[in-house]
Symmetry: C2
């Protein structure tokens, strides 16, 4: 009997599926030998083994977002550390890493300097306009909110709505909580904004917002609520996945400067949601939060509309100087805006940032400015940086504080 040294296997159904789909098979799949590598393989102790077949390669490395960042030569920024795989006699490269902490990770291989997905792992996520990566889920207490557990589930509605402000029919995702379909009750609403480079798909893919909300609601930690996930790029109708004509370069250079998204959120999105869903349409039952670019949009929207939201969360963004990108803040206006928002007395103003975040200083500056005005806020400082790992944690902590 052949030794399955590379963790290969085939079951009867796979054989049938193979037969039903043979004409579709692409090159590179091992049809002849019926073998399929197992990668990644998570052991009971949370060590993880990665494998890729590349007989001709001279060097294969693994780039995972759990690895520390290191400066890039030339000073343009940071990149990830990598680890080298080793090759066996069949041309299969492998490495065992960890144990890894429970979390949702992204990784790719780099085969002779070419970024390469793990074809044995069908869990793939697009990180906005930046890249596509494989997804690795390590179960455990710290990540237990991040996947579809047993129990009631909410619905994610992929909706198109009219935006007169932007002169577009646009797409957004609306999460309704477990039981919504069978209820006559009205629900509060959280508006949840993504960051630069992202789109309306970000929070339900990398952000797993629907799983986080399902699990928080099912365990009684968060109130049942509707969550609205918009596309924050004002010239984009929808993510690139539905409109091949949407290229990254179609995103507006002034997308953050012109306040157009913020206007469409207030004038188009909120009225649509409040007229098409079972919604408690008042300040006490509206929350707004966003990360990075979405944090800036949260700041802008809540300063311009102090009476709209009782719960405001700013993630990984502060009073940053973005003037070199053409984004000017009217500082004479800001003091009055802070006072107006203070007068509106929101139930919660929450600020979250990681100590390694490159925007950390902008958050310090914002807090200093708010302090000058005796503006009340709650500050949550985490470890780590400008990462989805932090944004998932922030959502997991922010949602339970809402509508109580």
């Amino acid at each position: 009997m052949k030794k399955l040294s590379n963790k290969v296997g085939i079951c009867r159904l796979q054989l049938l599926l193979l037969v039903l789909c043979l004409p579709l098979m692409s090159i590179g799949q091992e049809v002849g030998s019926m073998e399929r590598l197992v990668s990644p393989e998570i052991a009971d102790d949370n060590t993880v083994t990665f494998r890729i077949k590349a007989p001709k390669a001279e060097k294969v490395v693994l780039s995972g977002n759990w690895m520390p960042s290191v400066p890039i030569e030339g000073g343009m920024g940071m990149t990830r550390q990598t680890v080298e795989l080793t090759k066996d006699e069949n041309g299969v490269w492998s490495i065992t890493v960890g144990p890894l902490e429970p979390e949702l990770y992204g990784y790719t291989f780099v085969v002779d300097d070419v970024n390469t997905l793990d074809t044995a792992n069908l869990m793939v996520a697009r990180d906005g306009t930046f890249r596509t990566e494989n997804v690795l889920y390590i179960p455990g207490a710290a990540s237990e909110l991040y996947w579809a557990k047993t129990g009631p589930k909410g619905t994610v509605h992929k909706i198109w709505y009219e935006s007169p402000t932007l002169e577009l029919t646009r797409r957004m995702f609306v999460y309704t909580p477990p039981g919504y379909e069978d209820s006559n009750e009205n629900y509060p609403v959280l508006y949840l904004l993504h960051g630069g480079g992202g789109d309306e798909e970000a929070w339900s893919t990398l952000g797993v917002a629907n799983h986080i909300l399902d699990n928080l609601i099912n365990s009684g930690k968060a109130e049942p609520m509707i969550v609205v996930m918009t596309n924050g790029n004002p010239t984009q109708a929808a993510a690139i996945t539905v409109s091949p004509k949407i290229k990254p370069s179609d995103q507006p250079a002034g997308g953050m400067a012109n306040m157009l998204f913020e206007k469409s959120l207030v004038n188009d999105v909120i009225p649509y949601v409040e007229s098409h869903f079972q919604v408690k349409a008042n300040k006490e039952n509206r929350a707004l939060t966003g990360l990075s670019m979405g944090g800036l949009q949260t700041l802008n929207t809540s300063f311009e509309n102090p009476e709209l939201f009782d719960y405001i969360g700013v993630m990984s963004m502060g009073f940053a100087d973005l003037s070199r990108f053409g984004i000017e803040v009217d500082h004479s206006k800001r003091g009055k805006q802070i006072d107006a928002l203070k007068a509106a007395d929101p139930e919660l103003y929450w600020i979250a940032c990681g100590t390694d975040d490159f925007l950390y200083q902008s958050v310090v500056d914002m807090r200093n400015e708010l302090d000058k005005h005796d503006f009340e806020y709650t500050y949550r400082e985490s470890t780590g940086g400008h990462t989805w790992s932090n944004w998932r944690i922030y959502l997991s902590e922010f949602a339970p504080m809402l509508f109580k």
Copy 2:
């Protein structure tokens, strides 16, 4: 000024996004030079240029599903032809192919025998348990139904429902047509089943069913209808994308034999849809179709429940001998089933198959058997084989015949 020979470019917003996301950058991206390859690049004449940077590679080929299939050495099946790219002095490999016919294509690179996605192209689709590929959309008359055009759009609901039959909380996608949210009318329902290896995500990704329906309905070619896209693997709660614990090997060897999915469709799915959506709940307003394994499930369900559907479509499946996979058909029963379905007199029984489909003979056998019983059906024979290209065409032709 530097000659942009490799079609690289960066705009101001991309620079800003880069700055906002630098800590996330992964290795392999050309942060230092701020360059991003353009690939694929579609010219006005529909020739397409593909590019990948792989300085150390000895051979790079392109594998696209528009290329003909060729037998694999050893006789185990077919694979695709490939074409070789050529390398320039910067290590960028490229090739221009076509012109290509308007269509939605899948492709990958193979770099020194390693399947590699085009990292410059963020449009990626998972083909069930088989692979992940890049998507290439060539616009034109033949593919005009396949993307989100201007105009009203339906909603795709990602729903979880209880399946007592399968003892699972399961996921399905339900498409509601443009205007549904603002209407008090009831709508007919099409139940749309995927093939072996697929799941509930197949018809709205590779099948672009929501775009096809939006465009057919907006142009008046199809009646407004609800479309229900289930997961046909009876031990799966949901696609692997939401449940990392779902592995391909968790699919049941007997999934097609045990009729469990068919029972859950009738006992769980249809009652859920008819009690939670604005539905015309009668035979005249129910349609069922599926491809390959879903075609078998369509045959089984309509034979077992002759009074349930007035519109039945069987795509790329016939009376196939699947006994070597443990799937036994009771032939003594079949004649009676055909007669019972004939007595129920469905409005449309539609059979579609490609001349190159490996199941073509099973469709010939089915038609012969139906003919023996003077059973009325419409037969649509296309060119091509067992492909999503054909299944998109079949849906585009089947939907306009329904509910009229």
